[in-house]
Amino acid sequence: MAKKIYVDVILHHSKEGRIKPLAIVWANGVKYAIDKVTQITKAASTVAGGTGIRYTCYIQGQPRYLYLEEDRWFIESHKGG
């Protein structure tokens, strides 16, 4: 089953007030660059258990959901990563 994992995120915060995640930093310190964000929408994650603003991110060619839950970020993790 998928798990809810809170992660460190490196952001670009524009002068217009927009937030764009640039990279996810995994617990072991490994940084994963986000190539592009294709969709930003309010959404609930029923698999991980949480609600927030969902960023559809492409990391190494694969789509991943990254959620902003109030002031923390989490991802839906499958089998630990």
Partner: protein
């Protein structure tokens, strides 16, 4: 023109939020309720599996455990529920500004003007339900009707995750067969009286002579008759941004006049303890402390001060209030009544700005102590634990503002 009123009810609200956040609760019977370790408290909400096992909202935890021995009981997390309530309200606010809360998980919305912008009313209700499911992750049932009372019946009619439409054309078919106690404001006493009159369904009530209902039930008889016939025309109130409670306070007219600071101190501590206990019960804390005084000629004034940090501790409230009293009262005339109020409220348990000048550990210990004292008082009476200052004049301190305080139910006819 006929109105279009929605009543939206978030299904098993507390339990649904917990199930979303904790996937392990989804496939077991689960309920949100009071204190499990202490083995007391009541069921506040339950999931569908617990409901199937016969668990009902409001029953004692031990009763629920008898019906369903493998029931998982979770402590309520009110700040989480408030967040979800706010997220859902943001969705409602996309469609109308006429949103009236009825508790944390129910609202009425008047979409008479806006429904046509979004298709027809049923389409709009379905859109709202879908958005709540997708964006917030819980389900709602929505009643669509031409008045508030029937809209509420509609949201109860089919759960979870459903839309029910009640029109003047189908009301006899849908509403009239329902038991009369389903009608808003028909409680146990009224139900009994109705049964004695041979009224068992809402249809019975609607067809009874209104004069007879008025003679038996007073003014309410006519209201209920109007409700049953779909003639309720009370408006949906306009969306309010503020939380329902803005302040918590107590004041008292003293058994004897207050002549000096020591007298004030005795009463102030009783009041502060009551205010602090009520704040904790409501899961709130506040950062503005106000005091009010009134002398024997009924002249009065109020003074207030803002704290650096919100509090719900009786000690801090009492000491701050005493500072205000000390710097403002001159006792040229004796005082008849004083009051203490805490405002600028926030939900407790949220993040807190720490300051250099207050020890957070001391604060935690004080909170634990006060909570323990309040539990003892709940069990053994208000006078079972008292501050020494209250013993100085038992007459002055011999009131219990928290329990003597009457809380009036929210009126349906406000505004």
């Amino acid at each position: 023109m006929e109105r279009v009123i929605f009543h939206c009810d978030l299904n098993n609200f507390y339990a649904s939020v917990e199930c979303l956040h904790h996937p392990q609760y989804r496939n077991v019977p689960m309920a949100v309720g009071g204190d499990v370790e202490k083995r007391h408290g009541i069921i506040l909400a339950k999931n569908m599996l617990a409901k199937k096992a016969g668990v009902t909202t409001g029953e004692a935890l031990w009763q629920a455990m008898q019906k369903c021995p493998n029931l998982t009981i979770v402590k309520p997390n009110f700040s989480l529920y408030l967040r979800f309530s706010r997220l859902v309200r943001e969705i409602y606010a996309d469609y109308t500004d006429r949103i009236e809360s009825f508790g944390i998980d129910e609202v009425w919305m008047d979409v008479t003007e806006s429904a046509k912008l979004f298709g027809d009313p049923v389409e709009l209700a379905d859109t709202i339900r879908q958005r709540i499911k997708d964006e917030v992750g819980i389900t709602a049932s929505i009643g669509v009707s031409f008045n508030k009372v029937f809209a509420k019946l509609g949201s109860d009619y089919k759960k979870p995750d459903a839309t029910t439409v009640i029109t003047p054309q189908n009301m006899e078919h849908i509403v009239f067969p329902l038991p009369v106690e389903d009608l808003l404001y028909v409680g146990r006493a009224t139900t009994q009286k109705m049964h004695l009159m041979g009224i068992y369904t809402i249809g019975d009530c609607a067809r009874t002579d209104v004069g007879l209902l008025k003679r038996r039930l007073g003014q309410w008889g006519e209201y209920l008759w109007r409700f049953a016939n779909g003639l309720d025309n009370s408006p949906v109130l306009v969306h309010q941004q503020e939380p329902p409670v803005k302040s918590i306070g107590n004041s008292t007219t003293c058994p004897r006049d207050l002549a000096n600071l020591q007298d004030v101190k005795i009463v102030a501590f009783v009041l502060a303890e009551s205010v602090a206990a009520r704040l904790k019960e409501a899961h709130l804390m506040g950062s503005v402390i106000s005091v009010g005084v009134r002398d024997i000629h009924l002249h009065g004034y109020t003074r207030q001060i803002k704290l650096q940090q919100a509090t719900n501790l009786s000690d801090e409230i009492a000491k701050t209030a005493m500072e205000l009293f000390e710097s403002n009262i001159d006792f040229s005339t004796p005082l008849r009544s004083i009051g203490i109020k805490v405002s600028d409220l926030q939900v407790d348990g949220g993040p807190q700005q720490l300051t250099l000048f207050r020890d957070p550990h001391a604060q935690e210990r004080a909170l634990a102590l006060e909570t323990a004292i309040e539990k003892i008082r709940d069990k053994y009476g208000f006078t079972s634990v008292q501050r020494l200052v209250m013993k100085e004049d038992p007459l002055l301190s011999s009131f219990n503002p928290k329990h003597d305080h009457v809380i009036f139910p929210e009126s349906y006819f406000k505004g």
